[in-house]
Amino acid sequence: MDWDWENARDSLPLLLEGLLVTVELTLLGSALAYLLGLVFAMIREARIPVLSQLIYLFVELVRSTPLLIQVFVIFWLLWPALDIKPSAFWTGVVALGIHYATYTSEAYRAGIQAVPKGQWEAATALSLPRGRVWTGVILPQAVPRVLPALGNYMISMFKETPLLLAIGVVDVLARAKEQGAETFRVIEPYTLAGLLFLLVSYPSSILVRRLERRVGHL
């Protein structure tokens, strides 16, 4: 084994800088995915004539195709078409957010459909306004059950962010690449990068599993 501890130590600060970017991307992307996914789910459950079908098609399309291509479509096609030039970082946030919104929308829908039909009927019988039925009765019952799935999606997103390297986002993998190019030693930066991912995602997934058990008792 040809491991250079000094190089490992030197690479670390740079890698941690990159990790920070990765974490930011994940948090912002997840926030977008959670919000947008809820919108998608509600539109589909409400069965609005044309819109619900369009959302269905969009969700199936995005879910079944590679995230990388979607990143390219947004970066090279969408932004020029709208005549705006967001940074690679924000492109990443948008791409991750939309892609994962299609996953979270399915999770939300499962949660919404799990709410007993009697709750809808009671709300109707009491003549509650539409908005209030959602915010006061349905969502408070649907969302908690869905939280573990949402947590897992955030962890998955975290692990997928390095592909944003393709449009120049300077995350942990990009830094590892940099370091490798400078020092001509690849083993330490890449291995450390991998370990950093593990260090964040493994404890997180344990937490989500615990959340799953707690939510299972609701």
């Binding site: 007993p116 009697g118 709750q119 009927e121 019988a125 009491l126 509650l128 019952q141």
Partner: protein, 254 residues
């Protein structure tokens, strides 16, 4: 108060109600009895606008529930009209359907505040009065999951009454309760029936209760009213053979 005019209701190919006609006068307590599948619950659900009619009209207090006029045409009612009409009708369900994410008081005040526009204070005052009436004043801050089935159903009754409905629909409200809890709920219902002028439409298997409290009993079979009489008459001298059959089967079990 309530009038069904030629109402037809189908689920797929299965016709549940065939050209049903009947009326209920204001303040009457009418009980619907009959075998399952005869359409009794469907009638309640149509009144509560949980289902739509396939044909025919339903009138509540002279106004048409199911249809509105647009110019000189009659069209099925839109959501806005239904929402307005709904406020005058209340329903208590077999499964109570209390909102688990709210406590008892919040369950009762939710609709008055959100639908009728009452202030929180007014709604709470009304709620406390109603809790008194159903005998649960000490449970205002309790959570539905902490209550027994009978208590939950009484809260559900209070919740429906908080809207001050003109019509109250009771859908087998004691069928999901342990036998020992049934009496408490029936007692509350009897008191409400006798002290208010709400029009009641009740589907139940509790024949004794029906005899006690109803002004009229309607026997249903296959989507039609086959007999309609005061309880003393219907229970002691049923005219229709089907009614006799049904009562025999049900009452002999007791």
């Amino acid at each position: 108060m309530i009038r069904f005019d030629g109402v037809v209701k189908k689920f797929g190919d299965h016709v549940v109600l065939r050209e049903l006609d009947f009326t209920v006068s204001p303040g009457e307590f009418v009980t619907l009895i009959g075998p399952s599948g005869s359409g009794k619950t469907t009638i309640l659900r149509l009144l509560m606008t949980l289902e739509r009619v396939n044909d025919g009209r339903i009138y509540v207090d002279g106004e048409c529930l199911t249809h509105t006029s647009k110019g000189d045409k009659t069209v099925p009612a839109n959501e806005k009209h239904l929402r307005e009409m709904r406020k005058r009708i209340g329903m208590v369900f077999q499964q109570f359907n209390l909102f688990p994410n709210m406590n008892v008081l919040q369950n009762i005040t939710e609709a008055p505040v959100r639908s009728l526009g009452l202030s929180k204070g007014e709604a709470e005052a009304r709620a406390i009065d109603l809790l008194d009436m159903v005998g649960l004043s000490d449970k205002a801050k309790a959570h539905p999951s902490q209550l027994s089935g009978g208590q939950q159903q009484r809260v559900a009754i209070a919740r429906a009454l908080a809207m001050r409905p003109e019509v109250l629909l009771l859908d087998e409200v004691t069928s999901a309760l342990d036998p020992e809890l049934v009496a408490g709920v029936l007692r509350v219902l009897k008191e409400i029936a006798t002290t208010t002028d709400i029009t009641f439409l009740c589907v139940t298997h509790e024949m004794q209760f029906a005899r006690d409290v109803s002004d009229r009993v309607m026997m249903f079979d296959q989507g039609q009213v086959i007999e309609d009489a005061a309880p003393e008459k219907l229970f002691t001298e049923p005219e229709h053979p089907r009614t006799r059959e049904f009562l025999h089967a049900v009452l002999d079990r007791a």
